[in-house]
């Protein structure tokens, strides 16, 4: 699957299927600070991602005081 990430903006290619949780853990990302989006739709933690999916992992943390 193709995974789009930010800060810095980059694209990763990951082999095979994954659950959302497993993917976040694998990438060292906290589930409280990210959303996983596929075709404009959110995918929940135990949602299954296909090997051919294009997904965005969007950080949700704002830094302003």
């Amino acid at each position: 699957m193709q995974v789009h990430l930010r800060n810095p903006t980059r694209v990763l290619e990951i082999e095979g299927r994954r659950k959302v949780h497993a993917l976040l853990t694998e990438l060292g990302l906290n589930r409280e600070s990210h959303l996983v989006i596929r075709n404009g739709t959110l995918v929940p933690g135990d949602g299954e991602l296909d090997a051919t999916d294009v997904i965005e992992i969007r950080p949700v943390i704002s830094g302003g005081a």
């Binding site: 989006i37 739709t41 959110l42 995918v43 302003g64 005081a65």
Partner: protein, 318 residues
């Protein structure tokens, strides 16, 4: 679809897991949960009245657009206020998001440009005052929000602060036992000195929830952060709290909400009343303890300084 991810309410496929509620939700019931949390905050802390004339401080990011959207949806009358901070591309782009949101919905957006109207921007102000950019930025925003609310006859100033924001500030203030700041850290600050009340309707929603609200509602917001924020303390506190949240769901909400319910009332008596010492700023009429208020002093210093690009102060910080 695997059997685990069903909506708690309707058993349809879920789109989000909310560990602190120990449940998954479909789009419709996720939105309903968000609305309920906002209504609960508004009612419990008496944040807003039905006839309030509301001004929402809008940045183009997820929280301010979400709170504006929610208030309009809940039937409140709310205009937006966008302050152009002059932080390079970030400010140009964030303004576009705010304008597009307002235009698409036929909402009124008031715009103020620091550079256009006061002759400075945040990077220049930071350099000129030799203070951290967020301090000049916070001072400018507070003053301009107050002034716009007063000039426009608004009765409530709304900001998009969410649970993570408030918990992070609370953690920072607790680590240093800043009693005065702690005593003031409430979802509502009453009107005073002619200024409207200030309220935070999103404090029962986490950052992940406000972002998800925007995704589900199709709200296009600026995902990229203010470049100045990178690596600041506030983000460090958020990361710490989220690490704790990962170990124990709901700890972030308990930390903040129990503070407001149990600790804030104990601190209320310690709130220093600084009103007696206040008089009117000679230049702008705002309440101040000196002759000229901090904002007018900032304008004088910053507008006299040559223009500083944001990249320059970023380099200085690293």
């Amino acid at each position: 679809m695997n059997p685990g991810s069903k909506c708690r309410t309707c058993r349809q496929p879920a789109i989000i897991d909310l560990p602190r509620h120990n449940a998954n939700f479909c789009a419709e019931h996720f939105l309903e949960l968000c609305r309920r949390q906002v209504v609960k905050a508004i009612e419990h802390w008496k944040l807003l009245e039905r006839d309030d004339k509301i001004l929402v401080a809008v940045s183009g990011g997820k929280d301010s657009l979400a709170v504006w959207d929610l208030l309009i949806e809940l039937g409140y009358q709310a205009d937006g206020l966008y302050v152009g901070l002059g932080i390079g591309d970030y400010s140009d782009v964030s303004g576009d998001y705010a304008r597009r949101f307002a235009a698409d919905r036929g909402l009124k957006l008031i715009e103020i440009s620091l550079r256009g109207e006061y002759g400075y921007d945040i990077p220049t102000a930071a350099k000129a005052t030799r203070r951290v950019p967020c301090s000049a930025c916070g001072l400018s925003k507070r003053h301009l929000f107050d002034k716009a609310a007063l000039d426009g006859g608004y009765t409530a100033l709304v900001t998009g602060h969410n649970l993570d924001d408030e918990a992070a500030v609370l953690l920072g203030n607790t680590m240093r036992w800043e009693i005065d700041y702690l005593a003031r850290q409430l979802p509502k600050l009453e009107a005073r000195d002619g200024f409207p009340k200030k309220v935070k309707p999103l404090v029962r929603l986490t950052e992940r929830e406000t972002a998800a609200w925007c995704v589900v509602r199709g709200i296009d917001y600026l995902v990229d952060e203010c470049p100045i924020a990178a690596g600041n303390k506030h983000l460090g506190y958020k990361a710490t709290l989220n690490a704790m949240e990962a170990e124990s769901s709901g700890s972030k909400a308990a930390f903040y909400l129990n503070f407001v319910e149990r600790m804030a009332p104990l601190l209320a008596g310690h709130l220093k009343d600084d009103r007696e010492a206040l008089r009117e700023c000679e230049q702008c009429g705002s309440p101040t303890s000196g002759d000229v208020c901090a904002f007018c002093r900032l304008v004088a210093t910053a507008s006299a300084h040559e223009r500083v690009p944001v990249e320059l102060i970023m380099r200085g910080r690293r």
